[in-house]
Amino acid sequence: MRRVLRGLILPLSLAAGCVFGFRGEAEVEASYPLADVIAVRVDLPATPITVVGDPEAIGLEVRGAWRATGGTAEVAKANARTPRLVFERDGGFAELRAVVPLAVEGQVDFEVEEVRLPPDLDLELRTDLGDVSVIAVEGNLGVDVGAGDVDVVGGAGGVAVRTGQGDVVLETSGNADVQAPRGTVVVTQAGPGGNDVVVRAGGDVQVWLSSDADLDLDLHGREIRVQTGTVSTIDGGRFRRSVGGGHVKIWVDAGPGRVEVRMKPPA
């Protein structure tokens, strides 16, 4: 009896603490019509998202997969097939979102491979957790991420980015408003310049200017470096300077981080 007990208890104690399960996957490939739509919202659960503005796209095209766990292979597959994407239109506004029933909550994960849409649409992206990459979307662009890096090239109509935790790299010819309380920010003015750049970050901030005319510089940071044709300084704390009419706002608050404003190297 004792031997049996010892032989039973010890292995159980050592092996205790694991779940035997399976993984399942259900691919998603869908296209939703966007005729007469001028603004699109994509609101997805935690997933990395890559959005590409494609002139040949006829609608909102989504490719990805639902991944799930289950006690058996069948349960895992069934779980992967349970959640779904819902697309709704209301006049010129369309929204794509995910519906995850309570029965599979915590057991599924949506992984977007790519989202394509016409480049001239306004786009709003939301996700709890995931790196976001937006390329060649030239309408107004809004990105709201709980945690994840954001990389945007485009957004001529203006860009607003907020990430709770992560870095931001942005290249735009539109006005840029960036919040990254726990990350670094790099903003590059695309085109001839002249667009406003407003940044609030918890890390280092770099701004690359296309033009140094007509600037309104208001910079906060542990260390400030400005190197343009018209302004050159190395400072700390706060730096204010207007150049010309001061119509192009370069407002940066890096908190404990460093601020660097320079001219973009010639292409």
Binding site: A16, G17, C18, V19, A46, A103, E105, G106, Q107, G130
Partner: protein, 408 residues
């Protein structure tokens, strides 16, 4: 004749020898000291109530004389003083034949009392217990140990044990904190990382579970031990005939996740009440807990049958079977769906049957810590944990529980 030395000094040498003024004074001081000791050791007068009889004997180091007895106030004790009066054991004869006579304070102190009449039967009394003294360590030591592990043991003058508990708690806590910090909270943010770090995450989650489990087991044990040390109790006698037991347990396991990280520690604190309905056999309501996730609230309760098949000293080993019933309820606004589509269920229920062993170690008579290996599998629906944790339906699960129990 050689004098007998003792706390009261050489008595007979002074009695038999020459007296000087200084020697007499010293002798008197010694005798008064002896009288004071006897007076303090004697039973209280108790007003009119008769004082309990006390077997009197010679003072420490002094030999009992064989002379005629005298009373404490140098008057003969009445023969009818009775068992409740001043009746005492008859004096033993002096070994050296010395005799003390005459009413003298020193003689009073050294001579046992005896009735003058017929000697009654010797009174037998229960041994005197020391008066209860307040032990400030009883409440203080466990509280201090609860605040800082090992501090109660140090207060109990068990410095080595206290330092060991403190060092153990610090080591386990630091290890758990390091593992927790090492985990990448935004692992799932990067695309294409699924399963790539699975083994690392499994080891990390298992290590975190073991370290935190060991930490709270050590914490509970050292608080109990501080109390045991304060009351001077080292060999607990478990209450095998208890009627009721309360349990606080953390069940933990490491399971796979759908996203990244690909593995996660699932931990579940719960309470239980068991009643011993027959010898070694208990039934009760267990696994009671309430948990909250991002979009849900979960309520669970279970029933258990338990049989204790080993009782060896402070160690018990039990086997048990039971089932947990868990209800999960969606919180927040329902998901917006296109018209005509059926809304998903806002509540689901799961049944989790299980079998387990319970290895229990008693630190105090009524307090114990335990380790519980368990095998379970959620049926009907998934089993939910706090935050976004969930073990899917039909997933066989090995859990390891750690906790404490108190018996009434």
């Amino acid at each position: 004749m050689p004098g007998r030395s003792g706390r009261c000094g050489p008595v007979h040498a002074r009695i038999a020898g020459d007296w000087t003024a200084g020697g007499f004074a010293a002798y008197n001081r010694r005798v008064l000291r002896c009288a004071l000791i006897v007076a303090l050791a004697s039973p209280p007068a108790g007003g009119t109530a008769p004082a309990p009889a006390v077997p009197w004997g010679p003072l420490p180091g002094a030999q009992a004389p064989a002379s005629a007895p005298v009373s404490a106030d140098s008057t003969p004790v009445p023969a009818d003083s009775g068992p409740g009066g001043a009746s005492v054991d008859p004096p033993a004869p002096a070994a050296d034949g010395g005799a003390l006579g005459g009413p003298s304070p020193g003689v009073v102190a050294a001579v046992p009392l005896a009735p003058t009449g017929p000697a009654p039967a010797p009174a037998t009394l229960p041994p005197r217990r020391p008066p209860p003294r307040s032990n400030w360590r009883e409440p203080v030591a466990p509280v201090l140990s609860a605040l800082i592990p090992g501090l109660g043991q140090i207060v109990n003058r068990e410095h080595g044990k206290g330092a060991g508990f403190l060092l153990g708690a610090l080591t386990l806590g630091a290890g758990a904190f390091a593992l927790w910090r090492a985990g990448n909270g935004i692992d799932g943010a990067a695309p294409g990382e699924h399963g790539r770090t699975y083994n690392t995450e499994i080891v990390s989650a298992a290590g975190l579970g073991l370290l935190t489990g060991g930490l709270h087991l050590l914490y509970m044990a050292q608080v109990m031990d501080a109390y045991a040390g304060a009351v001077g109790k080292r060999g607990p006698r478990p209450h095998t005939r208890h009627r009721l037991s309360l349990e606080l347990t953390r069940m933990a396991t490491v399971g796979l996740r759908a996203g990244d990280p690909a593995a996660q520690l699932y931990a579940d604190w719960n309470v239980g009440v068991l009643g011993q309905v027959a010898k070694r056999f208990s039934v009760g309501l267990t696994d009671l807990s309430l948990k909250f996730g991002p979009q849900r609230a979960v309520l669970q309760a279970g029933a258990r049958l338990q049989y204790r098949f080993v009782e060896r000293g402070r160690v018990w080993l039990s086997g048990a079977a039971g089932a947990i019933v868990q209800g999960a309820f969606a919180s927040g606004p329902p998901p917006a769906l296109p018209e005509g589509e059926q809304a998903p269920r806002s509540a689901v229920a799961a049944v989790v049957p299980y079998g387990q062993l319970d290895l229990r170690l008693f630190i105090l008579d009524r307090w114990s810590i335990n380790i519980v290996p368990r095998v379970s599998a959620p049926l009907v629906s998934a089993r939910y944990y706090r935050d976004d944790g969930a073990i899917p339906r039909r997933a066989v699960t090995l859990e390891l529980g750690t906790g404490l129990g108190v018996y009434f």
